[in-house]
Symmetry: C3
Subunit: 298 residues, 3 copies
């Protein structure tokens, strides 16, 4: 895309900013190991265990709840909260909006994972409700990011001229899907005043001003349930100790690194998941800061 037309060429990203951001990532990795911050979650039952184990592997602490008053209470206990809408229960009608509001009141950043967007009425209602007290980070795959931007009325705002959000420019197979969510991601990030992480074969993280593309990982991440959810949970852990953009970027870079390393010594998705948790635990601040990232302006 950068080479297809002059107008689409991104302005040069200042080297100093990249260096500062990488240094900030390294500090986040180290701070979490030193401080063991608690990032409570309301998250789907399928991948809860993986989310918690990933949060623990990077040095954080986990706690999952379902009830409204518990959500409100943990919103003021944790450094950051992770809300994942994967498997809704009836009580979530109360729990999700009340927890988001409590985060707003307490000034606690929270991460939204709009899993399953488009399935059922309650999920749509909850996503509309939390628009009023928005998250600091949104994490999702390309279609979830595009869908959320549309639901919140942001879809068209940041689309490049001649492009419709969700029907973005075609590129190579492995980045096309994520590229299609670039405009929606940027618009979402600007609206929430935080960061958006789009997960895919190649990832994209933006704060609305910068766009960072992250490569690496492994196709086996898609053969393990909860890779995306646990990335959201880990982003919440980092959001306990740093700004939303650095947090989203650190989690994404770490996942690509650990995924690539785990893929080197596994025999399938079972041993990959085991090795992946080990590599989350073993990665150093320097490893994460040196991740292969491409920086652009939004």
């Amino acid at each position: 895309m950068a080479e297809s037309s002059h107008s689409a060429t991104p302005p040069t990203f200042p080297d100093g900013d990249e260096a500062a951001l990488r240094a900030s990532m390294a500090r986040a990795v180290a701070a979490v190991r030193a401080e063991n911050p608690l990032a409570p979650s309301i998250t789907n039952t399928v991948t809860q265990s993986f989310v918690a184990n990933a949060q623990l592997a990077v040095g954080g602490s986990a706690a999952m709840v379902y009830l409204p008053d518990e959500g409100e209470q943990v919103a003021s206990m944790g450094g950051a909260v992770y809300l994942n809408l994967g498997t809704l229960l009836p009580v979530y009608e109360q729990t999700i909006p009340r927890t988001a509001r409590a985060c707003d009141v307490a000034g606690t950043p929270w991460v939204l994972d709009p899993v399953g967007l488009g399935i059922g009425q309650l999920r749509t209602e909850l996503l509309q409700a939390v628009r009023a007290t928005p998250p600091a980070i949104v994490r999702g795959n390309a279609s979830e990011i595009i869908g959320l931007a549309k639901l919140w009325g942001l879809g068209g705002g940041a689309a490049p001229e001649g492009e419709t959000p969700g029907e973005g420019p075609r590129g190579v197979d492995t980045t096309d899907e994520v590229d299609a969510a670039r405009a929606a991601g940027v618009a979402l990030a600007r609206f929430i005043g935080g960061a958006v992480a789009v997960s895919g074969p190649a990832d994209l993280v933006t704060d609305g001003a910068m766009v960072v593309r992250a490569a690496g990982g492994s196709p086996l991440l898609c053969a393990v349930t909860g890779s995306g959810c646990s990335l959201g949970g880990v982003a919440a852990v980092y959001a306990c100790v740093t700004d939303p953009f650095t947090a989203a970027l650190t989690a994404t870079a770490l996942y690509n690194l650990a995924g690539a390393r785990a893929a080197e010594h596994c025999a399938g998705p079972g041993s990959f998941q085991v090795a992946f948790l080990d590599e989350l635990h073993r990665a150093t601040p320097e490893d994460v800061a040196a991740a292969p990232l491409v920086f652009e302006t939004a």
Copy 2:
């Protein structure tokens, strides 16, 4: 049992039918890897993660929901649906019957796993309710299959003369239990017009006309929670691309194969489960089609 009396000797199974069935199994394994079909589930919280990871390992896609309208919606989204009654929540009173009816309307095959049959009032009510819009596949252990056939008033119909369902003929230790469910399984399969898979030390799969006995696996499958549940979920994945009998047979044969292979290089139930997921992922269509199966007429 086959040798105990002339009347009980099963008619010779046509070789051509066996070959056709094995070819169909190989095609199912390949089709799932090529098409990545979605088999949504309403399933127990204990083994959800293992169910989803097994579905992904064989090449399928997973999605779990709890709410009634979500069940109805995924019934028309997925190629086949997996309903497991292991850990009931209050909302299941609505979700299970409405999802089963939605599958019926949409023509979506579904797999019933009557886990915990006999525990609590709601489970019995739900099993009675779904009789009106029956599944394409029932998967259970011997006592669950016998119990379900009785609950649905089918228990006596197919019992060999002089035998009471659930109190079947005694045999060698490792097959006795499954043999006891043979008549119930055949009756259930005929009633639903689909297939029944009875899991045990040796498995039995029937479409009401044929009975296939599958050996292999490992005792360690019983030391890992969710082996049976995940087999049901994988059967649903195969039911997205083939008929119920082939789907149940393919899942059963693959589980025995992967279980036997995983047992060769593990140190206990922890490493067994990891290796098992790897082997689910690695098995080829030819491997599965060549599984040790014994074909009989029902």
Copy 3:
């Protein structure tokens, strides 16, 4: 602590009692493997799978439920029940008290795991409600044990002169926290007429008369979610075949043993959890009975 002052020196523990207790532990390990006892649970969704897999690994059988009538039913089915308050659902308002009462009526011992004590109103209400039909075993970390003793009005009773429960004597880093819960644990054990297991870097198990300190384990146990929960579930399995004190002690000793062994051949928390389940499965009665334990009077 034992050496710091004359008054605090614990009376010598009779060697014969220690030998008898160790023999009882060996018998419990063997009996569970021989009898495959069922220990049903109402437990949090995050670690359910690990709890069940640990129960299976030691030779027991698992079943998880949520509904009130199911809780009552399993209370009379299982040899012992495990109630963990980690992730409360609205229906638990009925399920937990009714299950505890059903255990009381049936004479079924149950294990209480007061996870999350202090979070939300329902958890406090449930903990107050079950005081009337108390558990045979309480398992928790130091702050949970101290908190429960306070909630039940037992906090001050057994505190050594000059010490306030929860603000106990300072010691070396690795035992300080557990030591702080010693008085609360002893008071709780006397109140319930059973056993209390305090999990921490070094563990403490008491029946109100004796206090046993258990060392071993691995720091990696804290990097895996559900280590404590699954210890509670395994204690319930042993409570099916032996008295509460032996059950709590056997589970604790086995966990330290398996944790230390797993830590010897793992590369991080992912491979540690896998190896840990293997080691739970492989430990012999003699291994467990020979665990490094220090016996004191309470």
